[in-house]
């Protein structure tokens, strides 16, 4: 396993010793190399990366606003207003423009030109007759057809467009809520594990307390108290209830590593506790904690979808996958409202779980030794 002790005779190394320091492969590099060899987790990672790409490019993939257009002598990027409505230039709101770009751009400025999204569809409204050349308007509850690949909902809004723009919410919910959970969990777990004693006792009791309260009930209660619950409130709540597993694991890792000889060695050098926690213990405790974080993202997405399905999720105009399911549950004959978002949720949750599993396998030292 270990290479021969070469320093006894440094001159006789088989390869001419390089004179410049060679950078060794760090832990994360090795983990990545092992992870890359696993097919399924790697496919899952690619899928999540694809979702990320879709989320970032959603206004370019489906929308009714040009990506770039030249209007009355200036360049505009109206598609960015899908990220934030305030980014839409006020020029497009006056003179009866009504945000109907294809028709009005030409009418108001014959010189204008525009680059359009791949799909002329809007996640927020129905497409009317004649908006786009000779394209017919969408019907409500339309079955999948050539204009609406995944059909439309009760308001005639295109399902595919909603799903593309819903990717943003799905990923955001996963990352933000689990990010909040990770910060709380790692902080509390590290304190409990490193300092022990009274702090450990208190943190452990708080963990048990939070674990005892069903997250969904707590979230529903808080959403009921709030005047105008937004998706951000929900993410915060998901984060504040989902940190217990991360905290427990971090605590365990810190308890174990606090006793490690390299930590004792650092103390013998005179390293302070802050630096010991940040430089010596945390980097070693992080790998196992990454696994529940990955599973946490999956469960956050699932919880958000569940809440939206029950009607407590993102407020209606927001195109979340769960909201689509909700609109489908009222009329089960509209199978496309259930099937497509369902598949999307399923694949995303599955991907995060596969990534978590892959991480577990590629960071576990026992499996690493066996692989060598």
């Amino acid at each position: 396993m270990a290479p021969a002790d070469r320093q006894s005779d440094p001159g006789a190394a088989s390869v001419p010793a390089p004179r410049v320091p060679v950078k060794g492969r760090g832990y994360w590099q090795e983990t990545w190399l092992r992870f890359r060899r696993r097919r399924l987790p790697m496919a899952a990672l690619c899928f999540v990366a694809l979702l990320g790409l879709i989320a970032v490019l959603s206004p370019c993939l489906a929308g009714t606003k040009p990506i770039v257009c030249r209007y009355k002598g200036r360049l505009y990027f109206p598609a960015t207003s899908y990220f934030n409505p305030r980014w839409e230039n006020p020029i497009f709101m006056k003179d009866r423009f009504y945000k109907i770009y294809p028709k009005n751009l030409k009418k108001k400025d014959p010189e204008s030109w525009a680059v359009w999204p791949v799909l002329y569809a809007d996640p927020y409204r129905r497409i009317r007759d004649g908006e786009w050349d000779n394209r017919k308007g969408d019907e409500i509850y339309a079955e999948p057809n050539e204009r609406n690949l995944f059909g439309t909902n009760q308001a005639g809004v295109d399902v595919l467009a909603q799903m593309i723009h819903g990717t943003r919410i799905a990923l955001l919910v996963g990352f933000v809520s689990t990010g909040v959970a990770a910060v709380i969990g790692i902080l509390l777990g590290a304190m409990a594990g490193y300092f022990g004693g009274l702090i450990d006792m208190l943190v452990s009791r708080v963990i048990e307390l939070v674990m005892c309260v069903p997250a969904i009930i707590l979230i529903l209660t808080l959403l009921a108290i709030l005047d105008k619950p937004t998706i951000w409130h929900m993410m915060a709540m998901l984060g504040m209830t989902g940190w217990t597993g991360i905290a427990r694991l971090t605590r365990g890792e810190f308890l174990k590593l606090r006793q490690a000889e390299f930590v004792t060695a650092a103390r013998a050098l005179g390293v302070g506790w802050m630096r010991i926690i940040l430089r010596h213990i945390l980097p070693n405790a992080l790998a196992p904690v990454l696994v529940p974080i990955s599973f946490g993202i999956a469960s956050a997405i699932l919880t958000e979808a569940g809440l939206s399905l029950l009607g407590f999720g993102a407020p209606p105009p927001n195109p979340s996958w769960g909201t689509l399911l909700n609109s489908g549950k009222q009329n089960l004959q509209m199978w496309w409202l259930i099937l497509f978002p369902g598949i999307a949720i399923f694949l995303t949750v599955l991907s995060y779980n596969l990534i978590g599993e892959g991480l577990q396998e590629s960071t576990d030292p026992r499996l690493r030794e066996a692989g060598k």
Partner: protein, 332 residues
């Protein structure tokens, strides 16, 4: 020795370290592990004191307590004549510069997420010694001193063998230019062929940097080779202290005799009468009364079961046994 023997570099007096044993829902203390029980010794500048004993006898605890890595239960630690038992804060950090440690297991004693440079440089960094470039040069210099290629600067511990890792450990301890080093079984986890290399390196570094060692080991032959004086521990107590030559030629305590008889020898004329001790080491939570060694001692008498023997001096040879007759002092 450059300084008169009246001023030891390090002295511990009546050092005790008990670890509480907790049980139950409320973590009640139900007993204490008497890991180190009233241990006193002094180490002169430039000397190597060997500390031997079975596993679990408290040798490692002695080493870590005198470095203030564990808080002593009672007793005092004096370094260069100063009482450092209760030093804290920046004064303790200053002390750390002068006292370092090398651990037994070269695999768990190096942070797997840090490069060799990070590991060796850390002491310099936290004590704000030198600029970044100076520190780098110093790290390279030390790596060469411990026999490592300076091109290993940015490699990680897992890329090295046990012997190389132990050299990194030694480099880390050496970086702060300490006067005193605790070597806590530095070779026990290594292959036999590597052991001698490390021992020779340690001896060489000792001469070069004028170091003083506390060498902890259970390997008697290595201790004999490297130490000037040897202390034998049993169940948290020192049972015998003598110069290396004296101890090996003329062991006085029955436990030391048993230990030495267990050392294999290839020279048949040098073979000793094998003394096999019955039973196991008793629990340090509840050590036996009287002489702690009496339940296993082949020559124990009634008095041993009731009266704890004192550590008596017999011409520079100290021993804790009722049955060792000494000229004038000691005896029972």
């Amino acid at each position: 020795m450059s300084t008169p023997p009246s001023q030891p570099l390090l002295e511990i007096r009546h050092l005790k370290k008990y670890f509480p044993v907790r049980k139950g829902l409320f973590q009640r203390v139900v007993g204490n592990v008497h890991a180190v029980d009233d241990v006193s010794f002094a180490i002169q500048p430039g000397e190597t004191l060997g500390l031997v004993g079975e596993s679990g006898c408290g040798k490692t605890t002695v080493g870590r307590t005198l470095l203030r890595l564990y808080e002593p239960t009672s007793g005092s630690i004096h370094f260069q004549g100063e009482d450092v038992t209760h030093r804290g804060g920046s004064a303790l950090r200053q002390l750390r510069r002068n006292m370092q440690i090398v651990f037994q297991d070269p695999f768990s004693s190096l942070n797997p997420r840090m490069t060799v440079r990070g590991i060796v440089e850390e002491g310099l960094r936290i004590h704000h010694i030198g600029t970044k470039a100076e520190r780098r040069d110093r790290v390279e210099e030390i790596l060469v001193k411990v026999g490592l290629d300076p091109t290993y600067l940015y490699r990680y511990p897992h890329e090295f063998s046990g012997g190389q890792r132990q050299r990194i450990s030694i480099a880390r301890a050496l970086a702060l230019q300490p006067q005193f080093m605790v070597l806590d079984e530095p070779i026990s986890a290594l292959d036999v062929s590597i052991q001698s290399q490390i021992i020779n390196l340690l001896a060489q570094l000792k001469d070069e940097f004028k170091l003083t060692y506390l060498f902890i080991s259970h390997d008697l032959s290595v201790v004999e080779y490297i130490s000037d004086r040897v202390a034998v521990m049993y169940l948290g107590e020192i049972v015998e202290v003598a110069t290396s030559g004296q101890l090996y030629r003329n062991p006085l305590h029955p436990y030391t005799q048993a230990l030495l008889s267990s050392v294999p020898s290839i020279d048949p004329t040098k073979r000793r009468q094998r003394v096999v001790l019955p039973g196991d080491v008793p629990s340090p939570i509840n050590p036996p009364g009287g002489c702690r060694f009496h339940p296993r001692c082949p020559i124990a008498v009634e008095a041993c079961k009731t009266q704890p023997p004192p550590l008596v001096q017999i011409d520079g040879h100290a021993v804790r046994c009722h049955l060792v007759p000494g000229p004038g002092a000691g005896g029972a």
